[in-house]
């Protein structure tokens, strides 16, 4: 079992791969479509700006194909990139979902720190840690998604915290930085891959 971590120059591939290794998963940094073909699952991490979307262009087709065939986990920017566009920067998202990523309006941006999520649906990814806080660090977010399973409330704003549809998973928080609860989310994902 091998998990491909897409390395498109948007940070934190190291944190994600260390956390996955810590829980016993084998990972590989991947920069092209052939790397995705050889993997059993794909993680799209991301810290940084939506402008990184352009760096995904070379791997876009391969990524969309892989997402149809194998488990996928998007993290932070990796969730936002499932949408069409963002107010943060020009660039085309993967367009799995319609809509634009918007800037948060809360008093302190980035929304940085630990926050709880509100479950909307049952989730295989968050199973067992639904009531735990997770570490968020972002200035942009998605307000609505038909496949949202969890939301986060901050001040008067509500945004998508987790998306799940079949083998497609994405979280706005950072499981690789969310302590034991975050590692549990990654274990749940690895569990899906192993099945």
């Amino acid at each position: 079992m091998k998990i491909a971590i897409v390395d498109y120059g948007a940070g934190n591939t190291g944190s994600v791969s260390r956390a996955l290794s810590f829980i016993g998963a084998k990972t590989e940094l991947v920069t092209d479509a052939s790397g995705l073909e050889n993997a059993d699952a794909v993680v799209l991490p991301g810290v940084g700006s939506f402008s990184c979307a352009r760096k995904l262009e070379p791997i876009r087709k391969g990524l969309l194909k892989a997402m149809e065939e194998k488990p996928f986990l998007g993290i932070c920017l990796g969730l936002q990139l499932l949408f069409e566009s963002s107010g943060e920067a020009k660039g085309r998202g993967l367009g799995i979902y319609q809509g634009e990523v918007e800037r948060l309006k809360c008093k302190k941006v980035p929304h940085m720190g630990w926050n709880t999520v509100i479950m909307q649906e049952e989730s295989r990814l968050l199973e067992g840690v639904e009531s735990q806080p997770f570490y968020f660090c972002h200035s942009y977010a998605v307000k609505e998604c038909p496949d949202a399973v969890a939301y986060c409330n901050e001040e008067s704003e509500r945004f998508v915290a987790a998306v799940e549809m079949g083998n497609l998973f994405a979280v706005q928080f950072h499981p690789e930085k969310s302590g034991p609860a975050g590692l549990e989310v990654l274990r749940n994902f690895v569990g899906v891959v192993r099945k």
């Binding site: 190291g14 810290v47 008093k107 720190g113 630990w114 926050n115 709880t116 660090c137 901050e154 930085k177």
Partner: protein, 253 residues
């Protein structure tokens, strides 16, 4: 609601953790990676390492430290202390640190904040401000580990640092540091209400009540603490339990 963060700070000198009073009289307090792992397991929300080694080998030890901590600790951590250039910052960030804290170098050349933020994002750049009271002119920014007064107003500099791209302010009161007599609440509040990014209160933590005051009165988003943990006076679990009792929302593992 975003929870208040409790952040142990490890002052590292030549690879060891030390703790002093008002930046002087350092004592040995433990081995950094071991202590970091212990605090992570106790439920620290984040960790800060400040390297106060004053030699050229510093960057090397910071990189090794970041790499070792990143293998064991799965909460965000910051490395600071003598980060003077983009190369210093990128070395520790690439090694696994989530954020760098910039102090003197950012005061001397504020553009450094933006250069790092451009590549790594604002969330990766913490402006560390050491402030000291002056009876005539309020609170001034001191640099070079509290030895040089810049004459800059701490609140004004915090705002400038955020404008330059800092995603967070680590605000240390030199007067309070190591005294266990509580944070400088007035200073913390002044900075916290002036900037639109999270503020970490630092210097003076003596117990849970001090931290609760930093959150409730000082409007801080996070509280840094060192001495009271390193010498085993308390644990993070215990502190968090007390904070919950004082009505402060924190992450309880």
């Amino acid at each position: 609601m975003v929870l208040k963060r409790i952040i142990p700070c490890l002052d590292v000198k030549e690879g060891r953790v030390v703790k002093g009073k008002s930046f002087q009289g350092l004592e040995y307090a433990g081995e950094p990676v071991k202590l970091a792992t212990k605090y992570y397991e106790q439920g620290a929300d984040e960790l800060v390492f400040l390297d106060i080694t004053a030699t050229n080998e510093r960057r090397g030890t910071e990189v090794m430290l970041a790499a070792a901590v990143a293998e064991q600790v799965f909460v965000p951590f910051t490395v600071g202390g003598g980060i003077a250039s983009f190369e210093d910052a990128s070395a520790v960030l690439d090694a696994g640190a989530d954020k760098v804290a910039l102090n003197s170098a950012a005061v001397l050349r504020p553009e450094l904040i933006g250069e790092i933020a451009q590549s790594y994002g604002s969330q990766a750049v913490v402006a560390a401000i050491d402030a000291k009271r002056n009876e005539n002119r309020g609170r001034e920014v001191w640099i070079n580990a509290g030895t040089n007064n810049t004459g800059k107003d701490a609140v004004a500099w915090a705002m400038d640092a955020v404008d330059a791209g800092a995603g967070e302010i680590l605000l240390t009161s030199i007067d309070k540091d190591g005294t266990n007599s509580g944070y400088d609440l007035e200073l913390t509040r002044a900075v916290s209400v002036a900037v639109g990014v999270p503020v970490i209160a630092s210097g003076g933590a003596g117990g849970a009540k001090d931290m609760a005051d930093a959150f409730a009165i000082g409007k801080a988003d996070a509280a840094l603490l060192a001495g009271m943990l390193h010498y085993g006076k308390t644990t993070i679990q215990k502190l968090k339990g007390e904070l919950v009792g004082l009505g402060i929302p924190v992450r309880v593992a």
